[in-house]
Symmetry: C2
Subunit: 515 residues, 2 copies
């Protein structure tokens, strides 16, 4: 415990207030996406901008910089490594904030807001040309930002790498290319195999013509509630609502929210999204909070977006789409539905795993998801670092989609206009989604190396998902930002991150589907 | 329109930001009382305290004071009266903020928080002695606050009057005694009359033994929805939720929220509370917003708490508890319920108007409500200005309750410990509730002076409540803080505020009940 008048104690108190402010934004975001009436949007935007301005000020002011410097001066030779690491992370973030020109920050905020509006309209009208100038401006501004930020980086990084740091600390293009190369080779091959085998077997029943695809909302809600209750949902710390897009958000150290939605025509969507968002929330709930070095310090934060995604994907894909889970939950679904539309538990499992390439990333399954990411990642590099003109984007998108997934969009709305990320200038984020799949698979392999092959399915089959949670809560959650994603994987699995476990997992999963 | 670099324009921008900050607190309050999980309470308290500190700073800083002074300096002889009034109101509030000792502000905040906690516990255990020291401390601090604030008041005011100013501008004890005197004489008399007539007629059926008092929640919700739809509820600007205690709150200039609750054993409670809260919300929605002198200036704010309450009571009592309303809605209630438990529409009307004295203020009807307020008002004066020891409170409460309402609590929990107000040091607020009844009645009389006697019942009977709303929206809502409550009543009704219209209304209402 630092003496109350030390710079360290004052810095801690500053960070605590920063966390309070940030969490107010989270509460407003949650309200905005669950209950706020539409006419409240403009005022809400002003509220959030006010808080963002205050946050930026707290994280870049001269007073704060002095506080960090004073805390660094207090470090002596025998200071704990946790304390050093926290100060290093704060110093890096401070330098990043401070090397940005405020005029650029303001210009970016404006361009992002404009980009979003133009994109909404362009997508609705399938008019890429209307969006192109806004995208061009965002790219120019983000390149400028990257060049300003580069000065703060401790090592040389390319513009794309600089922009990706906040999401995936220490990520490099070289490493991503290494990780993605086997995905680019193997996944299209696996997709073809499945397509071949599927053509000779009856279509998955819930996707067939007979079954009406809309189940009553109340029934879908009940199944989600049953799932959350089995997975440790505690209403005194958690709140669940409906929103247009599912998300998970943390409003306070003891206040966790998740949302789901019922999607017409996709009766399993709400259930799987609940599993996904709950995985995010479990991770947030398990981040280290007690002790001198965690909350509100950086060490108490999520390791990276890739690790965050690995936790949601573990619960969605590895658990809720597993064979054992399908067998255990098949009776519950039949009872809720009042009939049996899949033939048997095997059919229900296939319904949980359609495994068909589609045009839309957010609807993609485990087999094609990473290819959607590879496509976006490579296009981001082309746009940001290789001077590809934005006008070439639709054609490049469609051609790459054809090469990777064997399908092609009929319109830009379901092609290069489908995601919101670029419309808000968000470059550098997409790869974290793919890393989530790889990390989840490698952590699962580590779990089975400890417990024996098939132990995860066995635990699920026995309704003992709490064992899986306990393992993650002991090995993964406590690491926070003491490591980056690669460091976390190395520490937990004993091996460097690689695509091999993910590909092994997929091949194993596909075996019965090709029988 | 003021030139953009004028002090007036800068002041306006300052006030706009202050409103933004304040509305963030409102959004957090709404979230806290509708969806926040219990474990989030401590962090939420810290979030709200952070915002309260920022608000106080914005409203009392030297920079802000300079801005107000500069705007005053810009006033010339032909400045519009609205501009003068806004600056006067801002100056008064600024002086109030600035004459408070920050140490006292902090001590009060702490004592209020402690008072609330001690009271919760003391009420649960019916232990007034445990609460007495906390109450004593709050009284001492509030007296100190009143003595500091007195310096800012433009006229001499007693301590109680000083504390009541934020809720009811310009209120005086002399005026309240004048207004309350006829209530103290007449209401007990009317209560006795009703009690006498009720003893010889069958009990109102929904209160009788046969009808189970709990209706399905979904059915109660549906009736509330039907009411709101008839009364102009617009989901694009409004949001409705459930909470432990009903309230109305404004989260942005186009973002209005109300809540209701289903009360076991009181099947009409949710419906009447919805009418009440919607009355508050309609007023907020109708406050003047356009033009140079209104939002975010003081003129765009509610006139007073008494006027606010007059608007909720108008829709709850004058409209939803009226005979014409009962006749119109009787079939809807029977259809929703699937049977007829009241005998006829007359019986339903009686169920909406139980008119029996009870111990609890928040459950009191139009006949006894104001007596609950008189009792509290007189005790506040005794505690704050007449050196009544807090230990005497229970006995004084019970004795006055007996004198005014003819009943006596069996415990302090349902006596002097029932309300939260004093537990948070909130003195000076209660009379606004009673003023709300008087103002509502006088506005209704003015309406009928214009339209003819019985016109309100006729409009309700014809399902034309929108006419009532239009009248209020033209005469009452636009006044904002251009006047105080007395000024509003004088301007709208052409006569000074008095208890006579309220007593006339009650006598008229009671006639059929005594037949």
């Amino acid at each position: 415990m630092a003496p109350p008048d030390s710079a360290l104690a004052r810095l801690r108190s500053h960070l605590h207030q920063t966390r309070l402010l940030g969490s107010i934004s989270s509460a407003l975001y949650y309200d905005q996406n669950t209950v706020m009436p539409a006419a409240g949007a403009a005022w809400r935007g002003d509220q959030l901008a006010l808080l963002a301005g205050q946050l930026h000020e707290r994280q870049s002011s001269a007073d704060y910089a002095e506080l960090v410097a004073a805390a660094e001066d207090e470090l002596d030779a025998d200071a704990l490594p946790e304390r050093r690491r926290n100060l290093q992370l704060l110093r890096l973030e401070l330098e990043r904030q401070r090397c940005l020109d405020p005029a650029l920050v303001a210009a970016l905020a404006k361009a992002q807001s404009r980009g979003n509006a133009v994109w909404q309209d362009a997508r609705a009208r399938n008019d890429f040309a209307a969006f192109a100038p806004a995208l061009q401006e965002l790219i120019a501004l983000r390149r400028q930002q990257a060049s300003q930020l580069a000065a703060a980086e401790p090592v040389a990084r390319s513009p794309w790498e600089v922009l990706a740091q906040p999401f995936e600390p220490e990520v490099t293009k070289a490493r991503l290319e290494e990780l993605f190369a086997p995905l680019k080779t193997e996944l299209p091959h696996l997709l073809q195999q499945v397509a071949g085998s599927r053509s000779v077997e009856p279509a998955c029943t819930s996707r067939g013509g007979a079954e009406p695809l809309d189940w009553p909302e109340a029934m879908q809600e009940e199944l989600c509630t049953a799932l959350l209750e089995r997975w440790g949902y505690d209403a005194s710390r958690c709140q669940r609502s409906r929103s247009a897009h599912p998300f998970s958000c943390t409003v306070g150290p003891q206040d966790f929210r998740i949302t789901t939605r019922v999607v017409p025509g996709q009766p399993l969507s709400a259930f799987l999204a609940t599993a996904h968002e709950w995985g995010h929330s479990l991770y947030e709930q398990g981040l280290p909070r007690s002790g001198d070095h965690y909350f509100p310090w950086p060490l108490g934060e999520a390791t990276s977006m890739g690790v965050h995604e690995s936790q949601s994907l573990f619960w969605e894909c590895r658990v809720a789409r597993s064979r054992a889970f399908a067998e255990r939950w098949h009776p519950h679904f039949c009872a809720a539905l009042g009939r049996e539309p899949w033939g048997d538990a095997e059919g229900f499992w296939r319904a949980l795993n359609p495994l068909r390439p589609g045009l839309i990333r957010v609807e993609a399954d485990e087999l094609s998801y990473c290819l959607h990411i590879v496509l976006r990642y490579e296009l981001e590099l082309a746009l940001l670092e290789q001077d590809m003109p934005v006008e070439a984007l639709p054609e490049q998108w469609n051609q790459r989609m054809h090469n990777l997934l064997g399908i092609q969009p009929q319109s830009d709305a379901e092609g290069c206009l489908q995601d919101i990320h670029w419309a808000e200038g968000l470059f550098g984020y997409f790869p974290s989604y793919a890393l989530g799949h790889l990390i989840s698979a490698q952590l699962a392999e580590a779990m089975e190396q400890e417990w024996g092959e098939g132990a995860i399915e066995a635990a699920i089959g026995a309704g003992q998902e709490s064992r899986l949670h306990d393992w993650l809560a002991q090995r993964v959650y406590p690491l926070g930002r003491s490591v980056d994603a690669e460091g976390l994987v190395q520490q937990v699995s004993g091996a460097p991150l690689s695509a091999a476990p993910f590909l092994r997992y997929l091949r194993h999963k596909l075996e019965p589907l090709q029988a």
